[in-house]
Amino acid sequence: MVKPLWIARDPSACSGCRRCELACSMHHEGWMWPEASRIRVFMPFPGLEVPHLCSQCQDYPCVEACPVEALSTDPDYGAVIVDREKCTSCGACIRACPGTVPYLHPGDDKATICDLCGGEPECVEVCTEAGYNALTIVNEGPSVHRKLYSRNPVDTARDLAVNMFGEKGEEVIE
């Protein structure tokens, strides 16, 4: 049974400090490695910082798309778990994801996806500690339509740009 645990994200509150990237990679890689962080913060234009991470779609298109069953879901929290032995780096999950969230790890080339740190996400901890609350744990169930949050970060930034800069926002990302 999937427990309702989800990382709500608010790009307008994101400071761009990237401590989530540092904390995530410390946890998963044993050292600071921004591009191997399961959460990556995009900045298509300065001031528009968009945390990009898996949103645990209700129907898991990535898991469905994997031809070798390297992806599965964690029964407790619903995170996508990657079996790095099985993964062939084919990129099917990346193409299937509506927000192009998974990526091939810069070290071993395997699919890399947020695993929710077993229920206590490091990114949320450091973001909360600093008072930004761009990432917060919420306990809502499937009603949040999680899949709608799986978006290309540049598209998110385009919306955010207009929200923050008004008409000028239409011009800041090409």
């Binding site: 540092l22 008409e167 800041v172």
Partner: protein
């Protein structure tokens, strides 16, 4: 054991020959000079050395350096140090800016880049995990800063995606670039990043322009370099952030509350080219900025939780569409009060214009304020300028900033910076240089940061600019002890932000040791490493040239204005005390082992391992 915190490789780019090579430093050099400002100064000494006085800073041979340090990306507040022979001071300035370029160059496997030569046509450098290449930038030349960044973000993302389409989404690269001011070699032009971040002091934007180098761009996917004691670094990293988070004033306002405060409280803010340092204009109060213009109040650079940056945007009225940061205090003062502008919207507009044109937001408006005072005094006329240049006339200053960036009319003269413009205007008008230099607020050609010394109520004191090897640079002021050695000189060499620096020196130096493994202490930095860097900077500054050299004693002084009594405000009548300047300058020289005229002594040079500098100092000794 290789020292920690270094990627271990540098890029050496010859723009004339279009050749790119890699090189490394011996561990000993890194231990002595660390990184950033220190290593840059060492590179300049090694590559230029005794030819220094003959080298035109805007000639192809001048090495232009982008240097990270071992603590960059680990210690909160990632920055990079830009350096070279400064076309403003003819010495060395370590000019730092916050930018993700620092992160990307390190994760791509390099500690820094040295450029020499001049590209045949405009280019930018692109660095990835696969190495470095020069890319045609003809289509970017002429674009303002904002447009340059918008185009590069798209173009480079697409290039990377085309090369490796299967790895997933590519982030935007880290980028530093110049605007029209840099392209047209406005002497004090800035190297820009993130639309409103600048390596402002030193004029390295014009050095980029002189090399036809529009931008440096990097996207790295590697891990940050290994450190000596990872567990300690991690714990110290958490601790250092806790110190950042207790800095509640900066977190809330950045330095944006000082545009009012430095005027009203401490009387240390330039008003109308420093004719006054006091104002009580409540429109400059931080709530006016915050309530109307700030669209993001917690804005950070990489690995920073001090978040002194706030995103400002003008959404209505004649300056609609302007986007910049706070403006921080320096730009509130220089793009505001110094021009007689006390309206936040107008202040944001001039600040945005500095960013877009690639002017330094301190140095350019210092020169504009200087021009406005000459206009006020009838020395420059409407005929000379082409229009009236009244205090507070935002449109007039907008026009003048453009004329400087494109070197049109009087703008061509002013583009030489306040000191050199003063000499040119004196010549134009048939006046004695001193008659024009008395209104020029600079030290060693470097226009002074927005913190005056007359009231003695700010952090800046009597000789803090006069004796500094970086002249008017307010981020590198000196005191008569050693403390600046473990302050600015260290931060610029380890390369992290001065606003994230912990109040605990112990923490900072424990951090440095845990990263590098060098047996480094506050004491060793104050006594040996810091003085070595500054002494080498001093030697090169003394050599100066070819167009300007600074005289010992005479030029180790404040601008004349600082000796005029403050005309207004609670500290009316106060003045910088010349005697104290002399006494404390002497004390500073003595602490560093320089003679009474500020020339490094032979025994000092020997002690610091700089014996080969000694013959060049001979001619300065009396």
């Amino acid at each position: 054991m290789t020292p920690g915190g270094y990627a271990g490789k540098w890029l050496d780019v010859d723009l004339s020959k279009e050749e790119i090579e890699e090189f490394s430093f011996p561990d000993e050099t890194l231990e002595q000079y660390f990184g950033g400002r220190g290593v840059a100064t060492k590179i300049l000494w090694d590559r230029v050395g005794r030819r220094w006085s003959d080298l035109d800073a805007l000639a192809p041979e001048n090495p232009l350096i982008f240097a990270t340090g071992p603590m960059t990306c680990y210690y909160p507040g990632a920055r990079i140090c830009v350096s070279g022979k400064s076309p403003v001071s003819n010495g060395v300035v370590g000019s730092t800016a916050a930018t993700e370029f620092a992160v990307d160059i390190r994760t791509a496997g390099y500690d820094g880049v040295v450029f020499t030569g001049k590209a045949e046509k405009p280019v930018y450098l692109l660095v990835t995990d696969e190495g470095a290449e020069l890319v045609d930038a003809s289509h970017l030349w002429g674009l303002n800063g904002e447009k340059t960044l918008i185009k590069l973000n798209k173009e480079v993302r697409e290039t990377l995606k085309k090369r490796k389409p299967d790895v997933g989404l590519w982030k935007e690269p880290g980028t530093m670039y110049i605007g029209p001011a840099g392209e047209n070699m406005v002497r004090h032009a800035a190297v820009m990043a993130k639309i409103c971040h600048a390596a402002g002091y030193g004029g390295y934007g014009s050095v980029m322009g002189s090399k036809n180098l529009k931008a440096v761009v990097a996207k790295g996917r590697g891990r940050l370099p290994a450190v000596n004691a990872p567990e300690s670094v991690y714990l110290l990293w958490r601790k250092a952030h806790r110190d950042c988070m207790t800095n509640t004033t900066f977190r809330r306002w950045g330095t944006g509350h000082l545009g009012y405060g430095c005027g009203a409280d401490t009387s240390s803010e330039p008003v109308r080219n420093w004719q006054e340092e006091w104002h009580d204009e409540k429109t400059m109060g931080v709530p006016h900025y915050m309530d109307r213009y700030w669209v993001k109040v917690k804005w950070s650079d990489f690995n920073c939780t001090t978040n002194c940056m706030k995103v400002s945007c003008i959404k209505a009225g004649r300056w609609k569409g302007d986007i910049t940061d706070v403006p921080d205090y320096e730009l509130q003062a220089y793009c505001g009060t110094n021009l007689g502008i006390f309206d936040p919207g107008d202040n944001i507009h001039i600040s945005t214009l500095m960013d877009k044109l690639g002017h330094s937001g301190i140095n350019c408006p210092n020169t504009m304020g200087y021009a406005a005072e000459l206009y006020q005094r009838g020395i420059l006329t409407e005929n000379d300028i082409g229009f009236k240049l009244e205090w507070g006339d935002t449109e007039a200053f907008d026009r003048l900033a453009h004329m400087m960036a494109y070197r049109e009319g009087i703008g061509d003269v002013l583009a030489e910076g306040t000191y050199r413009a003063a000499l040119k205007i004196a010549h134009m008008k048939g006046l004695k240089p001193d008659e024009l230099l008395k209104y020029a607020v600079h030290v060693k050609g470097i226009e002074i940061g927005a913190h005056g010394t007359r009231s003695d109520k700010d952090y800046t004191q009597d000789m803090c600019y006069a004796a500094s090897v970086q002249g008017g640079d307010h981020t590198s002021t000196v005191t008569d002890g050693y403390s600046d050695m473990s302050g600015a000189v260290f931060q610029d060499s380890a390369v992290f932000c001065m606003f994230t620096a912990s109040p605990s020196q112990e923490l900072i130096f424990d951090f440095a040791k845990a990263v590098t493994g060098f047996p480094i202490t506050v004491d060793s930095w104050r006594r040996v490493n810091g003085p070595r860097i500054v002494t080498l900077q001093k030697a090169l500054l003394l050599m100066g040239g070819p167009d300007v050299t600074w005289e010992p004693v005479k030029d180790d002084d404040n601008p004349p204005r600082f000796y005029e009594p403050l005309p207004t405000g609670p500290y009316k009548g106060m003045v910088t005390d010349r005697e104290r300047v002399d006494i404390r300058t002497q004390a500073y020289f003595e602490t560093l082992g320089w003679d009474e005229r500020g020339i490094p002594k032979k025994e000092t040079l020997d002690r610091l391992g700089l014996s080969d500098v000694d013959p060049l100092m001979e001619k300065f000794r009396q």
